[in-house]
């Protein structure tokens, strides 16, 4: 026990000793922990107790406890550690070899060598490149090179004399020497030249040389040779007093006939550029308003048809001139011309305005004279009332021509073919009537017409044969009368009533009017004979005037006074009469078609017959077949919908369709139809003379009561309104 306590005391001492020098050691690893100590005090006390206890326990064990410095102990961050000597002591106690401090250094040294031991043997690891070193080395190198270059440059420049530096021949003597040398050299050269010349003259060489020179000069390519060459640029584009190099334009090897053209490449390029700019600027080709276009000088450009294609068709137009030919006069003229044109085409507008005048409602005399009166239609009156054979002949000839052209109207063909008279007879047998006979002829014709009028209906149907017969009977020759001709074709004329031929029927009755009107009719006929109608441009075109009708919202009410038909129409529109009645085949009209012996019993008879037929299928015919001669049923197809309304064909189709497809109309459609039906009913019930509310009746009653032609409408401003209304009523 005593030993242990002693030991403890020793330890205490040690620890206390250490306390003095330990902070230096601990400081290396941990930051100072002064603040924490206070916190840990309590804990430390506890520990001490534990240690005290431990002392008793550790008696028998081989555990050697070394309590290190007290203060850092216990904290999470603080690590207890012993010094090397202490550990060595401890290790000695434990039977371990002491810590080898030197060996650790050795190992580190070994590591520095780069020698490594591995399973495969020892090897050196190549140390990585040191970037910093490398960088520094390069820097140094650069510095050295710059210095070297500098030195070289200085050496070089050192040899050159500066302007300010004095020459070597500063002194006058040397300068004089130099000049003298130069002069001497010159003189010598002259001498030598003279000598040579003398020699040449002696041998006659100089003349020969001069001749040669002259010839050479002659052969030289000068302005003369350029004369007549074409330069493809505008003269104005060459600035004065400036040299421009012109080259021969490229041309095909094979086209020799083309003349040489001089061109400056740069100028050509400029021109191309300008053209491109123009092309870019080019607007739409079509100029809707036909504005006059102006060139850059403000002159109106001449317009040709489809000007945009001029260049592609004619080739590009290029300004050019010939060298040596002075066309200054022409150019001047051209300029003058352009100015003239410009002036000519300029519209001059005066600033003066007309005096203001009061507009009069009437034309003055001048205006009246200007005002164009509609010319009265001057009808071409033909003296001849009728077709003569001459004309006929002519017409036939014309027809022949027309037939070739196949432009002949069909109507004419009909006219001719309907006639019984063969065409061959025209030129030979026809008796040519004199014009004197016109009156007589007309009279005769008139009487005949009147006669014919008695059986007019039949006449129209078969007028042609009768007429021709009668004519032939009368005189033994054909009389082609205009009126008769016209009558015949009456049915065919689609333009009935257009050009006054409505009067025709009346003409037939009235002889005297006929006389007057006949020429006109002839004219009409003439027009119909020839396929083409001549139109007199002077004559104001008289189209059949249709009076501009006022289009009413409701149909115009037919005038009842004109007849029963109109009345019926009115009744129908008002709904007094049913339309369907008209549609149905009326019994009265089809009475002759109705079966005489048909009765309701007959229906059953038909059925019985059917049954009999069925029987016959098995038994064979009992009676012989009897045709029902008198069976003429009045068939009437009527469709009736679910509500009992009679349907028209369209509705019936829809009804059947709905049934067939098993799909009815929509709710809205049904409602619409019902509404329509109701409205129709209401329309039919509506009074035709009064409004639905009976206001007219009320008004009349009121007027009767007050015995005045007006009615006072009561309102807020009674007096004013009555005045106004009474006025308007009157």
């Amino acid at each position: 026990m005593g030993s242990s306590s002693k030991k403890y005391k020793e330890k205490e001492k040690e620890s206390r000793k250490r306390r003095h020098h330990s902070p230096g050691y601990t400081d290396e690893h941990e930051p100072p922990k002064e603040k924490r100590h206070r916190h840990k005090r309590h804990h430390r006390d506890k520990k001490r107790d534990a240690r005290a206890k431990h002392d008793y326990d550790s008696d028998g064990s081989d555990v050697i406890e070394v309590i290190p410095d007290d203060e850092p102990s216990g904290s999470g961050q603080n690590a207890e550690s012993l010094s090397i000597e202490e550990t060595n002591k401890l290790r000695a106690k434990l039977g371990l070899k002491p810590l080898d401090v030197s060996s650790g250094d050795k190992s580190e040294k070994k590591r520095d060598d780069g020698k490594k031991k591995d399973d495969w043997g020892e090897f050196y690891h190549k140390p990585a490149e040191n970037w910093a070193d490398k960088h520094e080395r390069e820097k140094l190198k650069g510095k050295l090179t710059t210095i070297r270059e500098k030195r070289q440059l200085e050496n070089k420049l050192g040899k050159v004399k500066l302007l300010g530096d004095s020459d070597s021949d500063d002194n006058v003597e040397s300068w004089v020497d130099k000049n003298r040398k130069i002069e001497l050299a010159k003189k010598e050269a002259e001498k030598r030249a003279k000598m040579l010349e003398e020699l040449d003259e002696q041998f006659g060489v100089s003349e020969f040389v001069e001749n040669e020179k002259k010839e050479k000069r002659k052969q030289r390519y000068t302005e003369r040779n350029l004369k007549g060459l074409r330069v493809e640029h505008d003269v104005d584009s060459f600035a004065e007093e400036r040299d421009v190099i012109l080259t021969l334009q490229d041309k095909g090897v094979l086209d020799e006939d083309k003349e040489d053209v001089l061109v400056n490449v740069n100028m050509v390029e400029d021109e191309r550029y300008k053209k491109n700019v123009i092309n870019k600027k080019k607007k739409i080709l079509y100029n809707a308003y036909e504005d006059q276009e102006y060139d850059e000088f403000g002159n109106p450009k001449e317009k040709s048809l489809l000007a945009q294609y001029d260049e592609t068709i004619d080739g590009e137009k290029r300004e050019s001139f010939k060298i040596g030919y002075d066309n200054a006069v022409e150019r001047k003229q051209a300029i003058v011309q352009s100015i003239k044109e410009k002036l000519a085409k300029k519209r001059i507008e005066s600033i003066e305005t007309k005096d203001l005048k009061l507009a009069s409602e009437y034309y003055n005399d001048e205006e009246l004279s200007k005002f164009k009166k509609p010319k009265k239609k001057v009808r071409k009156i033909r003296t001849k009332g009728k077709l003569t054979a001459d004309e006929l002949e002519q017409q036939i000839n014309n027809k022949g021509i027309e037939e070739v052209g196949s432009r002949r109207p069909k109507k004419e063909l009909e006219d001719l073919t309907i006639d019984d008279i063969p065409e061959m007879e025209y030129p030979t047998d026809v008796k040519l009537e004199d014009e004197k006979d016109d009156l007589l002829e007309k009279a005769l014709h008139k009487t005949r017409k009147i006669k014919q009028k008695e059986n007019l209906v039949a006449e129209i149907v078969k007028s042609t044969p009768v007429k021709s017969e009668s004519e032939e009977n009368l005189e033994g020759s054909i009389v082609l009368n205009a009126t008769a001709e016209f009558c015949r074709t009456l049915g065919d004329i689609p333009t009935y009533g257009k050009s006054g031929n409505r009067e025709e029927t009346e003409d037939l009755i009235d002889f005297e009017r006929d006389l007057k009107d006949e020429p006109e009719m002839d004219e009409v006929e003439q027009e119909e004979k020839t396929g083409w109608n001549s139109v007199d441009p002077n004559e104001p075109h008289e189209s059949p005037q249709i009076a501009p009708q006022e289009v009413q919202i409701l149909d115009e009410e037919p005038d009842v006074s004109t007849g029963l038909g109109a009345a019926l129409k009115l009744a129908m529109s008002k709904g007094y009469l049913d339309k369907e009645q008209n549609k149905r085949p009326s019994n009265s009209r089809l009475a002759h078609l109705q079966a005489k012996h048909y009765s309701i019993e007959d229906k059953t008879y038909g059925d019985e017959g059917d049954r009999a037929n069925r029987r016959e299928r098995y038994t064979g015919p009992i009676m012989e077949f009897k045709e029902k001669d008198g069976f003429k049923p009045n068939v009437k197809l009527e469709y009736i919908d679910d509500d009992g309304h009679v349907l028209n064909s369209k509705e019936a189709f829809r009804y059947l369709s709905h049934k067939f497809h098993g799909k009815g109309p929509g709710k809205n459609k049904i409602e619409k139809r019902i509404k329509k039906g109701v409205q129709e009913q209401l329309m039919k019930k509506m009074s035709s003379t009064d409004t639905p509310l009976g206001t007219l009746n009320m008004l009349q009653a009121k007027q009767k009561e007050t015995q005045s032609p007006y009615v006072v409408l009561s309102g807020n401003k009674q007096s004013q309104q009555t005045a106004v209304i009474s006025k308007s009523r009157r």
Binding site: H29, H43, R51, H54, S61, V63, I64, E65, V66, I67, P68, G74, S75, G76, Q77, N78, A79, E80, S81, L82, I84, T87, L90, R91, L94, L96, K97, L99, D100, V101, S103, G104
Partner: protein, 73 residues
């Protein structure tokens, strides 16, 4: 010589100086001397590897300044 820190995160943290060719058992004894626990009650771990007593520290590649987890069994 290397120095190893051992921490049982319960309040004990020890720095132990030792040789790299010491065994783990030797290390445990040194720790025991410093902390006052019996050496055979000590378990040294690094993550999930428990160090065995008979193996040298250098074989476990335990170097200077390393932290070992200190547990008790």
């Amino acid at each position: 010589m290397i120095e190893i820190t051992c921490n049982d995160r319960l309040g004990k943290k020890v720095r132990v100086k030792c040789n790299p060719d010491d065994t783990v058992g030797d290390l445990k004894k040194l720790i025991a001397a410093q902390t006052g626990t019996k050496w055979d009650k000590i378990v040294l771990k690094k993550w999930y590897t428990t160090f065995k007593d008979h193996i040298q520290l250098q074989d476990y590649e335990i170097h200077d300044g390393m932290n070992l987890e200190l547990y008790y069994q």
